[in-house]
Symmetry: C2
Subunit: 399 residues, 2 copies
C-alpha cells in the first residue's frame, strides 16, 4: 500500500469540525444541539441574490474567465470604491471563497520553508493553508485580558527573521471578534514597509462592526501598494457561505499576474456563485442596518449571559460574530466533547469550538473556546442556559 504524503499527514483537522461526529450522535439520541461552534449565520441571504439564481437564463453553464466574470469584477471594484477603497477592476481576482484567495496569496508570495507572522489566536484554517503551501505560521500571542488587541509592535518585530515573508491578520478578527483600530493598521503598515514584507489582510467580516466603530482597511494604507494583499469573501457579508465566492485584491501587479496563473490552472471560480455574488452588490442598505442591529443585540445578550456564569470571562468584541471566552474548566477540548457525549439539559446540548486549535503555541487556549453568536436570541438564551448548567456540573470544573 503506497504511503500518503508527510504533508498530508501533517494537515491539521479542523478544530471547528472535529467534534461533529459527537454532535451527530447527540442528535441521533434525539437531543437538540445548539451550534455555537461554526460561523454559519441564520440571517437570510438577500432576495436580490436568490432571485438572480432563480431567474437563471443560461442554456449552458459555462466556464467564466479565470479571474471571474468581467461584469462582476467591475461591479465589485465599484463597490470597493464606494466604501472608500480605491482600486481598479484589474486589481482583483474572483476566487472560490475567501479560502482560495488566502491560498493563492500564500502560494504566490511565500516559498515553502518561509514564515508568515500572525497574532494568535488566529483563524484555524490558516494552519491548513500554510501546511498545504509548506509555509510556517509564526504566532505572536494576544491576550484575553487585553481583549485580544494587536500585540505590541516590538513583539511582532522580534519575530521577524530572514525567513519572514509577511504578516497575516484577520480584521475584524475570527476567532476573537477584535476590531483593529486605524492606529494598529498604520503600525502594521510601517512594519511591512520597513522590513519589505507582505501584509495579508483578511477582511471577510468588514461589514460586521458594532457600537459605531469604523473599519480601516489595509488597502487604505498609503505608500505600501505593493505590500498589501486584501482577502475578501461574500460568505458573511450576504449570508451566503455556500456560494463559495471571494476575492483577492491588491495593487501589486506582479502578485495579481502570479495569482492569475494559479487561477488559470483551476479554470474558473464557481459560475452560479458569481451570479449570486454579483447580484448581491445591489443588496439594499436596510439589510445591513437590520443585520447590524440583530448582531449587536445578540452580542450584547450573549456577552452578558456568559459573564454572568461563574468563572467565565468574555470580552465584548466590536466586530465579526465570534468571541473567545475563558471557561472555568481543566481542558476545553475535553469539556466540549463531554457536553456533546455525556451531558444534556432538558434534552438540549451545545457545540462549542475549543480554542486550542486557534493557537499554535502549544498549551495556549486550553481553557478557552470560540463561541459564535449566529443563532437568534431565543436559541442563544437556551444555549446559554445549557452552557451554564454544563459548567455547573462538569466534573473537570476549576471553581
Amino acid at each position: 500500500m503506497p504511503s500518503i504524503s508527510d504533508k498530508g499527514r501533517a494537515m491539521p483537522s479542523s478544530p471547528i469540525r472535529k467534534l461533529a461526529p459527537y454532535a451527530d450522535e447527540a442528535k441521533r439520541k434525539g437531543r437538540r444541539v445548539y451550534h455555537l461552534n461554526i460561523g454559519q449565520p441564520d440571517i437570510p441571504t438577500p432576495d436580490v441574490a436568490l432571485n438572480a439564481i432563480r431567474n437563471l437564463g443560461n442554456k449552458v453553464i459555462e466556464y467564466s474567465h479565470s479571474a471571474g466574470n468581467e461584469s462582476y469584477r467591475r461591479k465589485l471594484a465599484a463597490f470597493y470604491n464606494r466604501i472608500g477603497i480605491k482600486i481598479e477592476y484589474s486589481d482583483l481576482l474572483i476566487t472560490t471563497g475567501g479560502s482560495e484567495a488566502i491560498l493563492f496569496a500564500l502560494n504566490s508570495c511565500v516559498n515553502p520553508g518561509e514564515e508568515v507572522i500572525t497574532p494568535e489566536p488566529f483563524y484555524a484554517n490558516y494552519n491548513g493553508f500554510a501546511t498545504s503551501a509548506g509555509i510556517k505560521i509564526v504566532p505572536v500571542t494576544s491576550y484575553i485580558q487585553d481583549d485580544f488587541a494587536l500585540p505590541a509592535i516590538g513583539e511582532i518585530e522580534n519575530k521577524i527573521t530572514s525567513h519572514t515573508k509577511g504578516i497575516i491578520i484577520c480584521n475584524p478578527n475570527n476567532p476573537t471578534g477584535y476590531l483593529y483600530s486605524k492606529d494598529e493598521i498604520l503600525q502594521l503598515g510601517e512594519i511591512v514597509k520597513k522590513h519589505d514584507l507582505f501584509l495579508f489582510s483578511d477582511e471577510a467580516y468588514r461589514e460586521f462592526c458594532y457600537d459605531g466603530a469604523a473599519h480601516f482597511s489595509a488597502l487604505d494604507l498609503e505608500g505600501v501598494d505593493d505590500n498589501v494583499i486584501m482577502l475578501d469573501s461574500v460568505s458573511k457579508r450576504y449570508s451566503e457561505c455556500g456560494v463559495r465566492i471571494g476575492a483577492l485584491v491588491t495593487r501589486n501587479r506582479e502578485v495579481i499576474a502570479t495569482a492569475l496563473k494559479y487561477a488559470q490552472a483551476r479554470l474558473s471560480p464557481p459560475g452560479l456563485g458569481q451570479i449570486a455574488g454579483e447580484a448581491s452588490i445591489d443588496t439594499p442598505p436596510e439589510y445591513f442596518r437590520e443585520v447590524n442591529l440583530e448582531y449587536t443585540a445578540r452580542r450584547n445578550f450573549m456577552v452578558d449571559a456568559l459573564n454572568r456564569i461563574p468563572g467565565v470571562l468574555c470580552p465584548k468584541p466590536k466586530g465579526a460574530f465570534y468571541t473567545v471566552v475563558k471557561l472555568p474548566v481543566d481542558d476545553a477540548d475535553i469539556f466540549a466533547r463531554w457536553i456533546l457525549e455525556e451531558f444534556e439539559y432538558k434534552n438540549q446540548t451545545v457545540m462549542i469550538a475549543p480554542a486550542s486549535g486557534f493557537y499554535s503555541t502549544p498549551g495556549l487556549g486550553k481553557n478557552e473556546a470560540r463561541i459564535a453568536y449566529v443563532l437568534n436570541i431565543d436559541d442563544l438564551k437556551n444555549a446559554m442556559e445549557v452552557l451554564g448548567e454544563a459548567l455547573r456540573v462538569y466534573p473537570g470544573r476549576t471553581i
Copy 2:
C-alpha cells in the same frame, strides 16, 4: 517591494488561454473567432439541472459538509454502482471541479520533490497543480503515429525511480482523445501494484466514447484498491463546466481521510453547483445518446476535413472531444498567434491550442496543436475552411 515566490514565478501560464488577448483583439476588429482551443461545449446543460437551480428553495445558502452534501454523495455512489464501479458513498468526496480533486490527490499522496509519471502530451494543468504542490511531472512520450496509445510498459518502468510516487493518466485523454483499452489499464494496474505506486486516473470524459468502444475505469481493477484514485468532474458529462463540481473517489481510507482535511480547510464545495450536480444524475439516457451522436458526427466531419488539408495528420480518436494534429508549420505557437493577429478569411479566424504546452519534454509538439470539436458542424465547417486557408498562405508553412 517584496518579491513573489519562486514557486509563483515557476507557475506555467495556461497554454489554452495564453493567446486569449490576441483573440480579444481580433474580436475588437470585428472578426468572428472560432474557438477550437478550449473544451467549452455548446451542448445545453440538462433541464433537470437548470430547473433544480431555478427552483432553489433555500432562504440561506449555507456551507455544506466539507465532503459535499450527503444526499449528493449517496446519489453519486449509486450512479457509479449503476455503471459497474463498485464503491460506497464514503469512498468519495465532492470537490470544486475535477481540478480540486487532482490537487487534493497530489497533495495527499505526493511529497514536494517526489515524482509522478504521465504519458505526454498530457492535460496541461497537471503542470500547474504539480508546480503548486512542488511535485515533478515525469513524461513518457506517446506518439501521433501510434494514435497516442499508452507507451510500452517497459518505457514507463524505465522512468520509475526511488522518487516516483504515482502515475497519472487521463482516460479518455485530454488532449489526444485517446481511449485507453482494458488491456492498457490492466498493464498500469500491474505496474502500480509491483512498484507500490498510486494510479491517479482522471476520468472526466468517461461518457464520451465513440464507435461503440467501452470505457474501462481504473476503479474496475482488482487487487489495487489502495493504489487507485479516480478523479471525476460533472463539467463535461452534463455540459456544466461553470458549476465547478468534481469528485475524488478511492477505496483507500487513509487517502480519503487525508483529502478530507484539505477539504475542511476550504470549508465546502460550491453549494449551488452541488444542487446542479445532484439533479444532473437524473438526466435521461436520451440526452447522452443524442450528445454521443452529435460528437461522433462532429469528430467524423472534423477529422476528415483536417486530413484533407495538405500536410495535416490527424488521428481519429475514440474518446473525449479533442484531437492533437500535426500541422505543416515551422512552429505551432507562432502559427496560432499569427492566425489571430495577422490572418483573416472572410472576416473570420480560428483559435487553436499549440501543443507544446501539453508536452514537458522540450521541443516536442512544436508542429502540433490540440483542436476541440465543441462547435456545431456549421461552425466547424467554417473553422476548417479558415484553418485550411491559413495553412495555405502562412509564411512559415513547411510544404
